[in-house]
Symmetry: C2
Subunit: 259 residues, 2 copies
DNA sequence: TAGTGGTCTAGACCACGCG
DNA sequence: GCGTGGTCTAGACCACTAT
């Protein structure tokens, strides 16, 4: 049997199906609150197997576009859009996705031995060399965020060689073959220190929205650790989650329901 | 062919495999940075098909426990990180998961026509009746968060009938058969208003960490809209994301703690 | 009872990483 | 070249929802 593993033009089938369904939903062909056709019908319509349709629908589900429930057809949710991996990964990608013009100015680059906390975050031995880059990031020229990025030596050397006007260090690293596949983010509040006050032109002690991020490659090797501090009112993080998306072996037994 | 759809004791196979692999990783059997056995080997070991093994591994992947990459075996990333849907959904569940004692005091319950924004969030017609509950939430008796929850009439009526000392409104609703399956979260900053100042005992204009959340049932019908405002230093939200999925969680950070 | 999504199987071929 | 994960198929049974 023929199964040429993707359409003739090189697209993967499940992605193609997902893309077409996504467009149909956004275009209003499937309005929020209405039901999607059954998997079997979609499989026939797109000329793929049911498994491939399910793969496509899983993508839409994890994006929060549709729900699913055994026994009934899938329901179309509104147009909620969680931030994609690349938008969460890089200030530049995020800014572009909202139609803004990102910018940045490097304030300082330091090359020094890692402190214990830093070594831990990057999975290095105490005292291993790290590169610390302090940058102020702008939207349409206005400072909105201070970024403190820490790189292990092998990555830092690439960063150090970038042209000073490079807007996206992340994209430049990707172009150099560095892979970013997983990231852990922590979001909370922080108080402006002297650097923040100077670079963001805000009052001392100003409360800022802080995002700390640790990014790894497919091998689990840390490639970047960063602490970003945003002025109030400049950013909001959005996330979608569902019972099905993050289900794990957490079975709550019978009906011991409490109030 | 045999395919009894789950083990004899009623467990789903892919969950069982996922759970065993998770425990093995946490127990250190598969150390961080090492490789997992090939899918085929795992399939043989657990007596399931390769598809089921892949399903299990997809769960672990979306929890950030392992990565994957074509051509090489999966890499173990590290300990447990992701939090369950219910921990994210409810302050009570979250507090318990970190070993804290959650509490709450209802400040006011209002029943009135929805304003345009509220109607939009709950998918109701302008002026439809909604229930607004204002509560202060505590950890070990200390106020840490002000919660403004908005319910459509059919849900609000259930909430209104709850005993005044009900700690978890969410759990009570679940016990009444209300289904929570999807949530969209927005995290940013807000400034304390008069209610916040009064209930949290903080200075006027204090910057707070704000989480707004819209929760829907499997049909996509909104069941709750909530705006929660946390004192600085009391909470941190965590997100894990990868090219495949992202999971949001929240963590406790001791008051006044530094980063 | 019919329809639908959830689970599972047993194959197959493809694309990538590495020795 | 070979091992590995990624994609895809065709079919099956099960669990749940709605009629």
């Amino acid at each position: 049997m023929r199964q040429e593993q993707g359409t003739p033009d090189g697209e993967l089938r499940y992605r193609k199906v997902a893309a077409e369904l996504r467009e149909a939903i956004i275009a209003g062909e499937y309005a929020a609150g209405t039901k999607l056709p059954p998997e079997g019908t979609l499989a026939e319509r797109y000329g793929v197997s049911r498994g491939t349709v399910r793969h496509a629908l899983a993508v839409l589900r994890s994006d929060g576009l549709v729900t699913s429930r055994r026994g009934t057809r899938r329901t179309v949710l509104g147009g909620p859009r969680a931030q994609s991996f690349s938008e969460l990964l890089s200030f530049t990608n995020w800014a572009r996705s909202i139609g803004e013009t990102p910018g940045g100015r490097v304030d300082s680059v330091v090359r020094r031995p890692a402190e214990p906390f830093e070594a831990g975050q990057l999975g290095l031995a105490d005292g291993a060399e790290v590169h610390l880059v302090l940058r102020v990031r702008t939207l349409s020229g206005e400072p909105v965020m201070v970024e403190r990025s820490l790189y292990p030596a092998r990555i830092g050397e690439l960063v150090a060689e970038l042209p000073p006007d490079t807007v996206s260090h992340t994209e430049a690293l990707v172009a150099h073959g560095v892979l970013f596949t997983d990231a852990d983010h922590t979001i909370d509040l922080a108080w402006a220190d002297a650097d923040d006050v100077r670079l963001l032109d805000c009052p001392p002690g100003q409360v800022l929205l802080r995002e700390r991020r640790r990014t790894t490659d497919p091998e689990g090797a840390p490639v970047e650790w960063s602490e970003d501090r945003y002025l109030p009112g400049t950013i909001a993080f959005t996330v979608h989650n569902s019972v099905a998306a993050s289900t794990l072996g957490r079975h709550h037994s019978p009906r011991g329901g409490k109030g």
